[in-house]
Structures are given as C-alpha cells and as structure tokens.
C-alpha cells in the first residue's frame, strides 16, 4: 500500500509498504478514506521528536471503513464507517475505567522508554515515535487499529468525512481544553494560538457557556477565522501588547481562564543518545514557552490555565511563582479521546457545529511531502490539510 513515511528531518516520502495485518485478537484493519496533517506532525517533520525511525508511517488523524476484524473484536464488523481516536486505550485498566483514556496502562509496547523519561508511560499513539509504541500511523491506504473494540467510533452516513474526521483529535482536544477551564456564566476565556486546536477551543468555550472569548495569534487568516467563524474578539500580538490589551478588556481583572494552544516542540531523554536533543530543548525553551508564560501572567487570580499545546521536555524560566501567588489551577495532558468523541458526535449531529470549517486544503496522499512544507511554513493561508488516498 502507499503510506506517508518519515525519513529524517524535513524528509517525508510516500512509499510502498506492506499492508497491515491483524496481530492481536481485538484488532481491526481500516481502509482509510480521509486523513489529516496535525500541527503536532510538524514537530516530527522538524526532526524534534526522539525515537522516530526512518520508514515510520505517519499520521494520527484518520477515518475509514473497517475491512477486517480480529477474532475477539465483537463491536465492529466489516463495512462499518469509523473515526479512530489518536490515543490507543485498552478499556480495562485503572485509567481507562476512570475515564483517563489517554493515560492507559496497557497500550504502549515500549512503555519502558517513556518511563525512563517521565516516570510512568501514557497510552500508545498512532504514528508518533517508538517511545509512544511504534504504531504505524494512518496517513496511508490502510491502518491496523489495536483495541479496536473500544476506540473507533461509528459515524452515520448522513455526515460527510470532513464533518467527522476531526473527532479523531483536534475537536476533542479543543473541547477538553475548554472543559478544563471550568467555565462559569460570565467568564472570559483567552486563547493563545489560532491553529486548528485553538479554533476548536474557541468554539467549545462558547458551547460551554463563556460570555467572551478572546483569540491571540499573528497570522491574519487565522485571526480572521477566529473572528468570523469563531465570533471571538481577536488580538494580533505583532501589533498590540497582549497583557495590556487583556487587562483593559477585562477592567483590570484579567481573563478567568487562559488556553495555551501553542505548545512547545516535544522532547526529552534519559538514554544518552537523546541527551544532546535535550540540550537543544533547553535552548529552545528560553524562547518557545512564551505563550505559556504570558498566559500564566495574564490570567486572573484564582483562574485556570489550560494547556492543550504539546510539551515534552524541561521548561526554562517557568513562572511557577506567579502561578502560586495567584492561586492558579493548571490543567493539561493528552486528550481523553474516548470520553469526548460520542458527546461531540452528538453535537455535530444536532448541528451545533460543522467542523469542516477548518479545512483549507484538500489533496491526495501523494501530495503529502509538498503539503507538510506548505503547512509548516503557513504558506497559501494553510490551516488544515485533508488527504485522501488516490
């Protein structure tokens, strides 16, 4: 089959690779009908993710049609149309039972790698390095889905691929970011970063009852999308001092909740081969967590800072003193996909939101190398790329 493969920093190729096969009893094989490039795929593209290997199949936002199921999978049948969550969860461990699906104990075959880095391992992920399991991703014609009796969500034919595809990651991720804000009537929510996750965080903040939503970015097309589609008040940080502006907009009190949808290049090491990369992270860390520092600084006393943006390593000059002095609550982590997907499918079916508003580029799988570049450089007003196998 054809698949989008990593071959090194800024070296993405579409290769012929073997078709996936059922390996475990609860597996399913899905024929991909639509797949997207995620902002976090750009961290891989930039060569920042440790334990990526040449030939790894990329992609963790995908959907399609079930073509084969394992013998112990009694939930899916051939022909089902499904969206697959980017986190892989067993459904039976303590964390799955407690609805903390992205922290599943049993889905990462290489848990020892993540344990060396973080103390404990979170769930396995599709197409996102060997430290997260080494699972081939879904930017391909077919994908093997482990624990497919708990992950994939069946979607009705009345909805198009583009309306449901983003249930695989960015819509639930934006929604959980807003839910973590514990929004109460009258609240103002400020969102740093108007990429796809930021756009869904804006939409979700409205759904969860925010009175005002402020969006912060520097790309005009993204601010325009936040204003026109997201109905947010917008701040271009290239033109205004965000801290001053937020203070003025909120009568000197500050936003009740702040969302960092920017993140940092994911990183880390304990194995000595990764150590040099960690030092690189330290260098970047003096520069890149600017959005998070600003969010902590701008947030009102007793407010919430919610972090859907990806962080991986050690942060330099993290203003914990400000967070402590103001009694802030910090909420973060990978999205508990399995919990949010059914709720948000319901929202889409009811017409509360049509997630396809985010799509700017529709291409085939063969265009992947060019589109990674376009997306990374934010050329051609690129916000979201959807690819289909040709």
């Amino acid at each position: 089959m054809r698949a989008v493969c990593y071959h090194g920093k800024e070296d993405i190729r579409v290769d012929d690779v073997p078709d996936p096969e059922i390996l475990n009893p609860r597996d399913a094989i899905v024929r991909i009908t639509a797949t997207a490039i995620c902002g976090s795929d750009l961290h891989i593209y930039g060569g920042y993710i440790p334990t990526m290997q040449s030939g790894d199949v990329l992609g963790h936002e995908f959907m399609g049609e079930v073509v084969e199921v394992g013998k112990d999978n009694h939930k899916l049948k051939v022909g089902d149309r499904v969206v697959v969550p980017f986190t892989i969860a067993c459904g039976h461990c303590f964390f799955c039972k407690e609805q903390m699906w992205s922290l599943c104990d049993n889905s990462n075959p290489n848990a020892w790698m993540a344990e060396k880095l973080y103390g404990y391992s979170a769930s396995g992920l599709f197409g996102y390095s060997h430290m997260y399991g080494g699972y081939p991703g879904g930017q391909a014609e077919f994908v093997r889905v482990p624990f497919a009796d708990v992950g994939p969500l069946k979607v009705p034919v009345s909805l198009s691929d583009e309306q449901v595809l983003f249930l695989s990651d960015i819509f639930p991720t934006g929604y959980m970011a807003a839910e973590n804000c514990q929004i109460k009537p009258g609240d103002t929510v400020a969102v740093w970063g108007c990429g796809p996750v930021g756009q869904f965080a804006i939409q979700s903040a409205w759904m969860l009852g925010a009175e005002r939503v402020v969006a912060i970015d520097r790309f005009p097309e993204r601010l325009a999308l936040a204003r026109n589609n997201g109905r947010a008040e917008v701040l271009n940080y290239a033109d205004v001092d965000v801290s001053d502006a937020l203070r003025e907009m909120t009568g000197g009190q500050g936003p009740d909740a702040c969302i960092d949808a920017v993140g940092l290049e994911s990183h880390g090491t304990t194995l000595d081969a990764w150590y040099d990369r960690a030092k690189t992270t330290m260098y970047l860390a003096t520069d890149r967590p600017h959005a998070l520092r600003e969010a902590i600084s701008c947030c009102r006393k007793g407010g919430v800072v919610s972090i859907p943006g990806v962080y991986g390593g050690w942060l330099d000059k993290f203003p914990l003193g400000a967070a402590f002095a103001k009694g802030l609550t910090l909420k973060m982590g990978q999205t508990h996909m399995h919990k949010y997907m059914p709720i948000l499918l319901d929202r889409i079916e009811r017409g509360d939101i049509d997630p396809s508003f985010i799509v700017t580029h529709r291409v085939t799988l063969e265009d992947a190398p060019r589109m990674y570049q376009t997306f990374r450089e934010k050329r051609d007003a690129c916000v979201k790329v959807v690819m289909r196998p040709s």
């Binding site: 493969c5 020892w112 396995g124 080494g134 699972y135």
Partner: protein, 233 residues
C-alpha cells in the same frame, strides 16, 4: 560481596578498573554486537578493580542448597510490584497455574507441573543458553502468597515468593514479586547481564507489565514492525 580475603594492591586495582572501564565504555560506544562482547569481556576487569578479585561463583561446593547459596547478601535479589484492576482470586488462580508463567515471563521457555508441589522449569539465558531446574512450592496460601525454591541438582539456585494483597478498597490487586537467585556464573554473570543491557529487575518489571496486560486487556500490545526494525528494545 566478600572482599577482604583476596585483596590485591591498590595500583593493581586502579589499573584493572581504569583498563576495564575504558574497554567497557569503548565496547558499548560501538553499539554493535562486537562492542557488547568486548564490553562483556572487559567487565571482569572492572569487577576486579572494585572488588579486588576476579569474579567467581558464590557458594562453590554447596551449590544447590538455597539456604546456603542465597543466605545473607549472596545471590541477586529482585523486588518488583504491580497493581491490576482484577479480583484477587482471579490473579492468584492465574499465577498458581504455573504453566501460565511463560505467557508473561519472557525468559521462560516452559514450566511443567510435576505434581506434589514440584515443577520443572526451562529458561533461556544469555546467548540462548538453556537453563533448567526443578522447584518445589514451599508456601501456598490461597489469595495471599506462593513461595518456592529450587531443588538441589539444578543449573540455578533460586528462591522467591509472590504475594497478593488488596489495594484501593479491594477494587485492585497488588502483586509483589520477591526473587533471589544465584545465576550459573555467579554474581559476575548478572554483572555481565547488566552491562549487556539485561538488568534483572527490569526483566521482572517487564514480566509484571505483561501479566497485567494479559489479565486486564486480554492481550499483550504489539506494534506492526515498520520498515526499520526496532533497535531500541
């Protein structure tokens, strides 16, 4: 570790340590099979530099008796524990059926129940060496503990226990493994195993992770091998 009896001179010891360390570091830095062999070959020099004697098997002449071979600080001692979302009796029953153990203990080829609390164990050691031993269960309290020791005449001298206890208001079960063994090549054997990347507590830890995966998820997670074979594990 017994040191005093065969002390060598400080100069000799420092020389051994320096030469051994350089060779081990060089060997490992090669990241190749040859490099690992070089490191393994040089490891006894490091041992000699630290301990003051060449590594030699413990308890020579009394091999086979667990009380002698594993008394005091002798042998390798490993403790690891894990928590499962399963009723305690199910976890105990799974473990008590010894034939199940190779399903999650990667170094075991087979365990055969010989009856009367006795069993025959076959393991694969370093360099695919086959290691066999007979063991007897010396303690068995349902849903609480299983204890065992190897019988005289075995390739390996080992004793251990696994205890089962309730956790989180009896919703979870905690399994603790306590394992002692004297490997065929004595303590230096495990030293070489550590240098070559197979540290015993990590092995037991991975075994416990697999028993949790088998019992909770019903399967051990596996990723489809990709174009480049897994190098790390």
């Amino acid at each position: 570790m017994k040191i005093a009896d065969y002390s060598i001179s400080d100069a000799d010891r420092i020389g051994s340590l320096a030469a051994g360390t350089v060779l081990v570091a060089y060997g490992l830095s090669r990241r190749s099979a040859g490099g690992v062999w070089l490191a393994a070959a040089a490891a006894p020099f490091v041992y000699r530099g630290i301990v003051g004697d060449w590594p030699r098997p413990n308890g020579m002449g009394v091999r086979g008796d667990t009380r002698t071979a594993l008394a005091g600080g002798r042998g390798v001692h490993v403790r690891e524990s894990i928590r499962l979302e399963m009723p305690i009796d199910e976890v105990y029953r799974f473990w008590r059926r010894l034939e199940n153990l190779p399903r999650f203990m990667s170094h075991l080829a087979s365990v055969t129940d010989l009856g009367n609390g006795r069993s025959h164990w076959v393991a694969r050691g370093p360099a695919n060496l086959k290691v066999e031993w007979d063991a007897e269960i010396i303690n068995d309290v349902a849903n609480k503990v299983i204890g065992w020791r190897s019988l005289p005449g075995s390739d390996i001298v080992t004793a251990g226990s696994v205890t089962f206890s309730n956790a989180r208001s009896a919703q979870s079960t905690q399994v603790s493994v306590n394992l002692q063994y004297e490997p065929p090549a004595g303590r230096a054997g495990s030293f070489v195993a550590i240098v070559a990347g197979r540290e015993p507590s990590q092995t037991i830890r991975e075994d416990l992770r697999r028993v949790k995966q088998v019992l909770e998820a019903g399967e051990v997670p596996r990723a489809t091998p990709q174009a480049t074979a897994e190098r790390a594990s």
